[in-house]
């Protein structure tokens, strides 16, 4: 007998809350239907009523976790429209903040993955260490989450020598901590056993379904805007695109941990090689008519902004394609043939949102129409119980 399980639409943490309707045969998911459009705030329309400069504030508030990504993507596009060339020091500071944001986002996500897999001390550890990055970001920009460092034509705040030293110190600590996580991972066979083989997405389907970001990279597709279409500073810096070929949640963890290390490398290079000079140039109030597509590699994948100008001081159209949206088709594929117990884990693996764990699931018996409401936390408990008896690979090593 097959059941239908609706999940959502109250899906607190996503910027695009969605409703999932899963058809299950016993424990196995046979089909997934996605409904989008809940919790829609009308940001794109709102952007048309605000000036070019005010819109930085608006785009930053599209998402709180990758706030800098959206603002950077928007600013890049507008600068192209206005034919502005930001000074190199400004660009370095901009992308320095971008990499710090990637670190904070990936640490946050690692914690969530640990929580979903039932490894709560890992969650507490990574969130404790995340505070180091938050402090650095606060020191540079003055705010913990919405940094507001971007402006048209550069950045708003400069970095001095003392701050540079603090950043390097913080990164050194973080690198040590990240290596410690590898150690924990390598000695924690139950964690590896829980996440290996869950949420399989083959390389072919990752390409066919246009997956982006760590999800695509974990399936062996080396897709990274920073490498493929290097904007501004990334062309001058030395880093690698982290990939894994296990195609499962384990691979996604590995990719993100590797990316953390690459980000530390990038941060060190940028701090050490920070060019002298101004941090911003003056931007005009209006932009010439034209249109532009701006791409940026956000922590979760490729972020695209399309901006159209009509010669006034406001955009005529701003279209945002956030990475999470691009990953939905791939998520459907991952969930198919998975177990109900794995839903939280697979879902958390595409999007680093802690509040995902708090949504309600209604189980509807197709035959009798009987409903029972299950909390995501209960699902998690079921998942843990199911895996407690799973054979544990001894001496399993985290393939890093």
């Amino acid at each position: 007998m097959s059941f239908q399980i609706p999940i959502g639409p109250q899906h607190p943490a996503l910027k695009e809350p969605i409703s999932l309707r899963m058809t299950v045969e016993g424990e196995v998911i046979t089909d997934v239907d996605m409904r989008l459009g809940y919790n829609h705030r009308g940001m794109e329309k709102l952007a048309e009523e605000k000036s070019w400069l005010q819109n930085i504030y608006v785009t930053e508030r599209i998402c709180g976790i990758c706030s800098h990504s959206h603002a950077t993507c928007y600013v890049q596009g507008v600068e192209k429209l206005m034919e502005l060339a930001p000074p190199r020091r400004g660009l370095y500071i901009r992308y320095l903040v971008a990499e710090l944001e990637r670190v904070h986002s990936h640490l946050l996500w690692l914690g969530v993955a640990g929580h979903e897999a039932g490894f709560d001390s890992f969650f507490m550890y990574t969130w404790r260490d995340r505070e180091i990055v938050m402090d650095l970001l606060e020191m540079i920009s003055g705010n913990r989450v919405h940094y507001a460092i971007n402006t048209l034509g550069g950045v708003r705040r400069d970095i001095d020598e003392g701050q540079k030293a603090k950043i390097l110190e913080g990164v050194a600590t973080l690198r040590k901590r990240s290596e410690y996580y590898f150690y924990i991972g390598a000695n924690e066979p139950s964690f590896v056993a829980r996440i290996a083989g869950v949420g399989y997405l083959s390389k072919e389907s990752a390409i066919a379904l246009c997956a982006v970001g760590p999800v695509a990279r974990a399936s062996g597709v080396a897709r990274d805007v920073r490498k493929d279409d290097p904007c501004a500073v990334y062309g001058e810096l030395d880093f690698e695109v982290a990939t894994a070929d296990t195609c499962d949640v384990l691979g996604r963890v590995v990719v993100r941990v590797k990316e953390l290390l690459e980000s530390y490398k990038l941060i060190e290079q940028m701090v050490k090689g920070l060019p002298a000079g101004d941090i911003a140039v003056k931007a005009p109030r209006k932009a010439k008519p034209g249109e532009v597509v701006s791409r940026y590699e956000a922590p979760r994948g490729e972020n695209i902004h399309y901006i159209k100008a009509n010669g006034t001081d406001k955009p005529e159209r701003l279209k945002v394609r956030a990475p999470t949206l691009a990953n939905y088709p791939a998520t459907v594929e991952m969930l198919r043939k998975g177990f109900i117990a794995d839903i939280p884990l697979i879902f958390a693996a595409i999007d680093p949102c802690i509040c995902c764990a708090e949504r309600t699931v209604t189980l509807v018996a197709a035959g009798s129409g009987e409903e029972s409401v299950v909390r995501m936390s209960d699902l998690r408990r079921q998942a843990l119980a199911r895996h407690q008896n799973a054979p544990v690979k001894r001496n399993a090593v985290w393939p890093l």
Binding site: P9, Q10, P12, A13, K15, Y38, N39, H40, R41, G42, M43, K45, L46, E49, Y57, V58, R61, I62, C63, G64, I65, S67, L108, F123, M124, W127, R128, R130, E131, M134, R144, V145, H146, C353, I354, C355, A357, E358, R375, M376, S377
Partner: protein, 139 residues
């Protein structure tokens, strides 16, 4: 006697429910950050609960979008009396940058009564803790 006991336990260990009504995530990660080792609200006996039926205090973030309005009222009704609402962030207070967008109702207080406002965009974890502690002081 019993009254004293319930009052004491309410002050000593309020259970909170985190409610997001269309926030940009930033306020939410700051609320979660308040639960993790650096800020650690559990030392005040504050515990995050997943279900409204166990909660005493609703910590709400975000402007109210039209679709989520009825859901918020339903969740508010499910919380047992006495219940308190803390609005975290500029959005929950007034709608913040989204104010005037076609799908936004404004602050949380348009929909349910609010006891305490914590300003900020996003509010810092220290501010959120301060809000909760001040609310407890009022009891």
């Amino acid at each position: 006697m019993l009254n004293k006991l319930t009052r004491w336990s309410r002050i000593k260990s309020p259970w909170i429910l985190h409610l997001n009504s269309g926030a940009c995530n930033a306020c939410d990660i700051e609320i979660v950050a308040a639960l993790t080792p650096r800020f650690d609200v559990e030392r005040f006996g504050i515990l995050l609960k997943a279900t409204p039926r166990h909660a005493d205090v609703i910590i709400a973030s975000g402007p109210v979008t039209r679709q989520i309005r009825d859901r918020i009222i339903r969740i508010y009704d499910q919380v047992p009396d006495p219940k308190f609402v803390i609005a975290v962030g500029a959005c929950a207070m007034s709608g913040c940058v989204y104010r005037g967008a076609y799908n936004i109702m404004g602050g949380i207080d348009q929909v349910i009564p609010v006891n305490m406002y914590v300003p900020g965009c996003p509010a810092r974890p220290d501010a959120i803790i301060d809000g909760v502690v001040k609310l407890l002081g009022k009891l």
